[in-house]
Amino acid sequence: MDTGDTGFIMICTALVFLMTPGLALFYGGMVRKKNVLSTLMHSWIIIGIMSLQWILVGFTLAFGPDHYGLIGGLDWLGLKGVGMEPNPDYAGTIPAILFMGFQMMFAVITPALISGSIAERMRFPAFIVFMLLWATFVYDPLAHWVWGVGGFLRELGALDFAGGNVVHISSGYSALIAALVLGKRNGFGKDSMAPHHVPMTVLGAGLLWFGWFGFNAGSSLGANGLAAMAFVNTNTAAAAAAISWVVVERLHRGKSTMLGAASGAVAGLVAITPGAGFVTPLSSIVIGLVGGAVCYLAISVIKAKFGYDDALDAFGCHGIGGTWGALATGIFATTSINPAGADGLIYGNSSLLGIQAMSVGITVMFTVAATFIILKLIALVMKLRVSEEQESNGLDLSLHGERAYSEFV
C-alpha cells in the first residue's frame, strides 16, 4: 500500500461523489421553477439508493470473480472480504475497500445522468424502481464487461479509461429510450421551457468539472504521471469544447450564451472520459473542439428534427459526447502516453477504431434493449408518468409537497 496513492484516490472519491450533487444543480437550474425540487430529488435519491445497492450487490456483480466474461459472482455480497488490504487484481497500492468506494461513486452518478431526459414528468415510485433495476441489470453487468477482470469487452481490447461506455454511452442511450417511452412534456414545443435559474446550472457545471478531475485522473488508481496526464487532458478537452460550443452557437444563432459555455464544457468532459489516459493534450484539444460542436448540433438541430423530448439533453450530451469520445480514443490513443493502451488511427493502427466502434455498438444495443424492456415491465405494474394535473401544478408540489422558493418576504 502507498499512502500517496491511497490519499489521492480517497480525495478523488470525494470529488466524484460531489459530481452528483453538482449534477442535481446542473439539471435543477434548467427545469421550470415548479419542478426544481423534483429534479434535485432525482439525483439525491439515487445517491441514497445506489450507495446501498452497490455495497450490497452491485460491487460484487461488477467486480466479483468473473463468470463467462458476463458477470461477477456473488462472492463479495455485502462487501464480504472486501477490506483494508489491497486487491492487486484491481489496484495494488490502495485498500480494496477504497477501490470499492471509488467505483461506487461511478455507480451513483451514472443513473443520475439518465434522469435529465425524463425530468418534469416521471412518477417518483416508478423512477425509483426503474433506477434500481437499471443499476442492477444494466450498469453492473456493463461495468463487469468493460472493467471486471475477465469481462469480455475488456478482453476484446476496447479502451475506456474512465467510463465512456459504462457511464456516458449507457446512460445517454438509456435516457433517449426513457424519453421516448415517457413521451413529451405537455406543452413541449409550445410553452416556454426556458431554464428557471441559469446560475444554478452554471454552479452545477463548475462542480461537475471540479469533480471530473477525480473521475478521470483518479481512474489511473494512483498518484502518478498518468493521472497527471489524464488531469490535464480533462481540463483541456473541457475548455476546448466550451469554446467550440459557443463559437458554433454564435455562427448558428448569432450569440454566445453562458448556458452554452457550461453545456459545452460538460460535453467536452464527456468526450475526453474514455481517452483521458491514452491521448496527448494536443489531441485533447481536437477531441474537445469536435465534442462541443457535435453535441451542440445533436441538441439544437437533430433533436429539433426528430422532436423527442430529451428534457435536459442527457442523450445529447452523454450519448453523443460519449460515442464521439469512444471513437476518438480509437483515433488518438497513443502508447507513448500509456503503454498499457494501444495506438490509434493517427498513429497508424486502424484496428483500435474498429474495436472501439464495436464496443460502442454492443453497449448501445444492450442498454437500449434492456432499458426498453425494464420500462415496459414497470409500466405493467405501475404508471410511469404523472397525471396532467400534477404536471401542470408542478412535481414539487404534487409529488413532494414542497415549493423551492417562498416568494413573499
Binding site: G187, E389, S392, L397, R403
Partner: protein, 112 residues
C-alpha cells in the same frame, strides 16, 4: 374605456396572450399574484410539519380597451383560460377615464 382584469391560472397565460393578439389586442400588462377563492389551497410539508397554503399562484392580466371590445375580449379570455375545474379564475371590468401614451403624448382612445 374599460379596464379588464383577468385572474387566471399561470399555465394559461401563453394561450390567452396568443389568442388576444390573434384578435388584434396587443397591449396588455401581466402581474404575478397569489389568490384564493373556491379553490382549496395545498399542503406543504417541511421536516414533518404540514403547512396549508391557501394562496395559490395566479397571474393577473390587465387590458385597457375601448368599450366596444370588452365583450369580445371577455369571450376570448373565458374560452382560453377555462379548464372547467375550480380555480379557473375571474374577470373584472371597470371604467377607465383616460389614457396617455408616454412616448407620443397621445391621450384618450388614441393612446391605446
Amino acid at each position: 374605456m374599460k379596464k379588464i382584469e383577468a385572474i387566471i391560472r399561470p399555465g394559461k397565460l401563453d394561450s390567452v396572450k396568443d389568442a388576444l393578439s390573434n384578435h388584434g389586442v396587443n397591449g396588455l400588462t401581466v402581474t404575478q399574484v397569489i389568490g384564493c377563492g373556491k379553490q382549496k389551497g395545498n399542503t406543504q410539508i417541511y421536516r414533518g410539519v404540514e403547512y396549508t397554503v391557501h394562496l395559490i399562484p395566479k397571474v393577473k392580466i390587465e387590458v385597457i380597451v375601448m368599450d366596444k371590445f370588452v365583450e369580445e375580449i371577455i369571450q376570448i379570455i373565458t374560452t382560453e383560460a377555462r379548464t372547467g375545474e375550480i380555480g379557473d379564475g375571474k374577470i373584472f371590468v371597470s371604467a377607465v377615464e383616460n389614457a396617455f401614451t408616454i412616448r407620443t403624448g397621445a391621450t384618450g382612445e388614441q393612446a391605446l
